[in-house]
């Protein structure tokens, strides 16, 4: 069992690549393939998808034979928090504007770390708001809504 665990990164990566290869190769079949001389839109993705699927199987096999790398352990918590902070930003920026979106994102992202204090969150939000206003709105003239109307 231990030997199997050692190749886990390769097993998972192999499955990922194989599935993606099969998926794209399959999807590209719905477009015109054409001939080798006059390739249609489906040909190039079909060729690439097929090669990727085969390569994925090779990597998978290598992983099963346990000569591959161990998968790295990375914490899942911060990933969820960071993605959540992006989502919250996305949902607040249109209806309310940056004034709400940035502080909300800052609070969530800071909360994930051990460095959270309300004072720091407030200071950071204020600083970022001013910075983004100066860079995007004032300087580059991009219409990012500070306060949505």
């Amino acid at each position: 069992m231990i030997s199997k665990l050692n190749g886990r990164a390769d097993v998972e990566a192999g499955i990922l690549f194989t599935l993606f290869g099969i998926l794209t190769a399959g999807l590209s079949l719905q477009y015109r393939l054409g001939s080798i001389a006059t390739m249609g839109p489906g040909m190039f993705p079909l060729i690439l998808g097929t090669i990727l699927a085969i390569l994925g199987l090779v990597i998978l096999t290598k992983g099963l034979l346990a000569r591959g790398e161990k998968s790295k352990s990375l914490p899942l918590g911060p990933v969820i928090m960071i993605t959540a902070s992006l989502l919250v930003f996305a949902f607040l920026v249109l209806p309310v504007g940056l004034v709400a979106a940035i502080p909300a994102q800052v609070v969530i992202a800071l909360w994930a770390s051990e460095h959270f204090t309300w004072k720091r969150a407030a200071a950071l939000s204020a600083g970022l708001l001013v910075f983004c206003y100066v860079v995007f709105v004032h300087f580059l003239g991009i219409a990012v809504p500070m306060i949505a109307v």
Partner: protein
């Protein structure tokens, strides 16, 4: 003389007030991220991509380029003072630089790094100016099969120099190529592989891909191993190196510059490889080779000149062939495409102001960097006291606003989130994202050249072997693959890349 009038045009563009300003912003940002471990030039360029949308093409590239070579200066500062390479390309500088600092010779070490970098930057600028025009003339004569094979070689080279498994790196290239095919097919106008999403008609958003894979994923990686940094801001005194110091760095600087310039041009090369190679050479040939490793000034000058030279000559294949030699160059090409400029050998003819302005700005930027880095070294080091999570939050917020300002749609925010997660998964599985980016950038061009070649030869694939230039590129690609698969080299390669 042509060369002089070209340089004059370059100075005209680079010395325009707004371009000087953007050059300054670029090198300033570069120095800053160079000092900070955990945020590299790659992430910074990705995050700043949306900001460049509303800028002139020349200003945009001048600023982004400044970040790349500016980071080479900043990285050496922390390498010397804190034994902490701000960038991978400065890792080797810690060996002698930190020893010098411990012996109370931090000043001369910093000066040697800055001066040798400046020398290298100057020479590399001249090399880029001299070689770019003839090379793009050669490339313009390429027929589609040669172009196709050249891109294949470029992609293989990115695999050779990626860390970790070769197979996985090839798979990442293929994945990138496939992602590049999403969107409207140039020949038939068919919307391909968009899974019914109209938003994907123009293809996957490059900004979201770049920020997700390099900006946010890099941050996630560093969140785990956050170390408490002890900042020993001892007063750095006696910045000026003595006359004997200066004499000792002349030869290593010249050697480093040459090595860096040569390795920077190679596909897959760039700053990191250059600095390692220069140090190894210096250890073999230097007069004071016994001292190297124990605080010899040569051990600072050689890698620092090499990484700066390499980071600049890496622009040659990017500008003349449209071939990115590393992920940073892929982002530069992405920035060009976003500006509506088709990368390739025609740039020098169609956009001479952009081309020469960028080259001259590199020299001006190097000058700014010497002035910025030496007197203000204490200021930069103080930035290390910023807690990493605070930096993370600031980067996240800036990325979100940036990508929103670039597209104004929730869909692109979703793409950003998806690529951030993908970047995380790739990291877990030991797959480098750089080859994917190269594949993504080169995908549409590769397909176009393949289809043209096949039209030209009426469907005969041997055309890639009968055309001499094309055959040459393919032979080189196969050799490169064979070399890394050779067991002895595979082992050495692991050792080299393990260090960072």
């Amino acid at each position: 003389m042509d060369f002089l009038s070209n340089l004059a045009l370059g100075f005209h563009v680079a010395l325009a007030v707004n371009n000087i300003f953007f050059c300054f912003v670029g090198v300033l940002a570069g120095t800053l991220v160079g000092v900070l471990p955990g945020v590299g030039p790659l992430a910074t360029i990705a995050i700043l991509l949306p900001v460049t949308f509303s800028m002139e093409p020349a200003s945009a590239l001048i600023m982004l380029a400044g970040i790349y070579y500016g980071a080479q200066y900043g990285g050496s500062t922390t390498a010397i003072l804190l034994n902490l390479p701000g960038e991978a390309s400065s890792a080797i500088t810690t060996l002698d630089g930190y020893q010098m600092a411990r012996n109370g010779r931090a000043g001369p070490a910093l000066a040697a790094a800055a001066l040798s970098s400046f020398f290298a930057g100057t020479i590399a600028t001249v090399i880029v100016a001299l070689f770019a025009a003839p090379l793009s003339k050669v490339a313009m004569a390429f027929r589609p099969p040669s172009y196709f094979s050249m891109m294949v070689l470029g992609l293989i080279a990115s695999v050779v120099l990626a860390r970790g498994s070769v197979l996985k790196a090839i798979a990442m290239v293929l994945l990138g190529l496939l992602m590049g095919t999403i969107g409207t097919d140039i020949y038939s106008g068919t919307a391909r592989l968009n899974m019914g999403m109209l938003e994907l008609a123009d293809g996957v958003d490059f900004v979201g891909l770049a920020i997700g894979l390099f900006g946010i994923a890099e941050i996630l990686k560093n969140l785990e191993g956050h170390q408490t940094r002890e900042v020993l801001t001892k007063k750095v005194t006696g910045l000026m190196p003595s006359l004997s110091d200066l004499k000792r760095i002349i030869a290593p600087t010249i050697r480093g510059t040459l090595i860096g310039s040569a390795l920077g041009i190679l596909p897959g090369g760039g700053a990191m490889l250059s600095s390692f190679a220069a140090y190894i050479v210096e250890k073999k040939v230097s007069k004071n080779r016994d001292e190297i490793g124990h605080g010899a000034i040569e051990g600072v000058a050689a890698p620092e000149s090499a990484n700066n030279a390499g980071s600049q000559t890496a622009f040659i294949p990017m500008l003349t062939l449209g071939l990115p030699s590393n992920a940073v160059m892929a982002l530069m090409i992405g920035a060009m495409i976003l500006q509506g400029i088709q990368p390739g050998p025609e740039i020098i003819v169609k956009q001479p102001d952009l081309f020469w302005g960028l080259i001259v700005s590199m020299w001006i930027g190097n000058l700014m960097l010497v002035l910025l880095n030496l007197p203000l070294v204490g200021l930069w080091v103080r930035f290390l006291t910023v807690p990493y999570p605070v930096l993370v939050v600031a980067v996240m917020a800036f990325s979100a606003v940036g990508i929103y300002s670039a597209s104004g749609t929730l869909f692109s925010m979703g793409e950003l989130g998806l690529f951030a997660l993908l970047g995380y998964v790739f990291m877990k599985l030991g797959c480098e994202p750089a080859p994917l980016t190269l594949g993504f950038i080169l995908g549409p061009m590769l397909e176009e050249q393949l289809r043209r070649s096949m039209l030209m030869s009426r469907g005969d694939p041997t055309v890639f072997l009968t055309e001499p230039i094309s055959l040459g590129f393919l032979v080189a690609a196969v050799l490169a693959l064979l070399i890394i698969c050779a067991p002895a080299i595979a082992r050495r390669r692991e050792e080299v890349f393990v260090e960072d």
